[in-house]
């Protein structure tokens, strides 16, 4: 009788373990997990905006450059109703300098010029994106924006900077990001600028009412 009881309990335990594993894996897939906050310099728009976009981007990816333009337009049109949170997702296997670009952009952000530096990185991505040696553009852009380059160099090698970027990437992996740019608009996934606009249209009423003065 004890053997029968233990066998039943064991079966029950296996069933619970199986169901909970599936539930957690599905929750991951449906993006139900918490999202790490981004540093203030990587967030644009009011914190309490009704529409929150999390954008996973690679500075060397042409589709990301295109999407960045669309995001800027959306921020202008729906300013008050929209907050864009920028997350790094450098595809280092195909873009050898993406991780460096992400680190320099964050370091520019610490000097108050993330958006400007990111703009220059996107605009010049064809020059530095596939360079064989370390691109000189990173320094050029910093000097152009009057940033403290030696400080940026130190910052880009800092363990905290790299940790922040790697955590963004790991979070993207957990959320099933495998292409850039991937957006989560109030939790709904969109890949590429066309899907972003398509998804954003679903929040059109919210965005327009929040944008009204």
């Amino acid at each position: 009788m004890i053997e029968r009881k233990n066998a039943r309990l064991l079966a029950l335990a296996c069933m619970l373990i199986f169901i909970s594993t599936i539930a957690v894996l599905m929750a991951r897939q449906f993006n139900l997990g918490p999202t790490r906050p981004v540093p203030a310099y990587r967030a644009f728009g009011p914190a309490d905006a009704p529409v929150q976009i999390y954008e996973y981007t690679d500075f060397a990816c042409p589709a990301c450059r295109h999407a960045a333009g669309k995001i800027d337009e959306m921020l202008k049109v729906f300013g008050g109703g929209l907050r864009v949170n920028f997350k790094h997702y450098p595809l280092a296997n195909i873009h050898p300098w993406s991780l460096h670009a992400a680190a320099y952009a964050d370091c520019a952000g610490e000097q108050g010029k993330f958006k400007e530096y990111a703009g220059l990185l996107f605009a010049g991505q064809e020059k530095w994106g596939l360079a064989k040696d370390k691109p000189k553009e990173f320094e050029e852009y910093a000097r152009q924006l009057k940033l403290d380059w030696p400080k940026m160099l130190v910052c880009s090698n800092d363990a905290e900077t790299l940790k922040r970027i790697k955590l963004d990437m790991a979070e993207g992996d957990v959320k099933g990001v495998n292409a850039t740019p991937t957006f989560f608009i109030n939790g709904k996934r969109a890949v590429g600028a066309a899907q972003l606009i398509d998804q954003a249209m679903k929040f059109d009423n919210v965005l327009r009412s929040a944008a009204k003065p």
């Binding site: 009788m1 309990l9 335990a13 373990i17 909970s20 594993t21 929750a27 918490p34």
Partner: protein, 164 residues
């Protein structure tokens, strides 16, 4: 089966559900976040090398989740309560050695990235949880799967009424 629930049994039941709930929450919140995040917290205790910290971060959230589930459901209740208690002892050891070595722990990794208390606070909190584990071990048998399955096994073992 319909015996009156004593105060001790009620305390045991509540302790079992509370401690199970804490472990389920802690496991789920970490399993939903990137393992690297928890791995950084483990690394900050400076007991494991980076690659082992990452493997621990992959495995540990699931262990916590399963341990919490089995305890809350009352499956092998005493063993589950003991196992959860041992996990708490392990956490206390980790916190104590970090405190004694003066390690700069910014996130204890106890409940993922969602805020972290001081090491002292977590240490005291774990003592409270350990008391729950003891209550669950000693008096946590009521309304448990152990009892329900045990009762049905007894019924199944008895010959049907009127059988020759």
């Amino acid at each position: 089966m319909n015996e009156k629930l004593t105060a001790k049994e009620l305390a045991g039941l509540l302790a079992r559900l509370a401690l199970g709930g804490v472990f389920i929450y802690s496991g789920v919140i970490k399993a939903l976040a990137p393992a690297e995040e928890f791995a950084y917290a483990i690394e900050s205790y400076r007991l494991l090398p980076a690659n082992l910290a990452l493997w621990s971060a992959y495995i540990f959230p699931w262990v916590e989740l399963y341990a919490g589930l089995l305890l809350a459901a009352g499956i092998f209740t005493r063993f589950s309560a003991l196992f959860n208690g041992l996990l708490l002892v392990f956490f206390e050891f980790m916190l104590a050695q970090a405190w004694l070595r003066g390690l700069p722990i910014t996130s204890c990794g106890c409940f993922g990235n969602g805020g972290s208390n001081s090491i002292t606070h977590e240490f005291i909190q774990n003592i409270g949880l350990f008391v729950l584990a003891w209550l669950a071990f000693s008096y946590g048998g009521r309304c448990s799967a152990d009892r329900l399955v045990g009762a049905s096994a007894v019924e199944a073992a008895q010959p049907p009424v009127g059988a020759a």
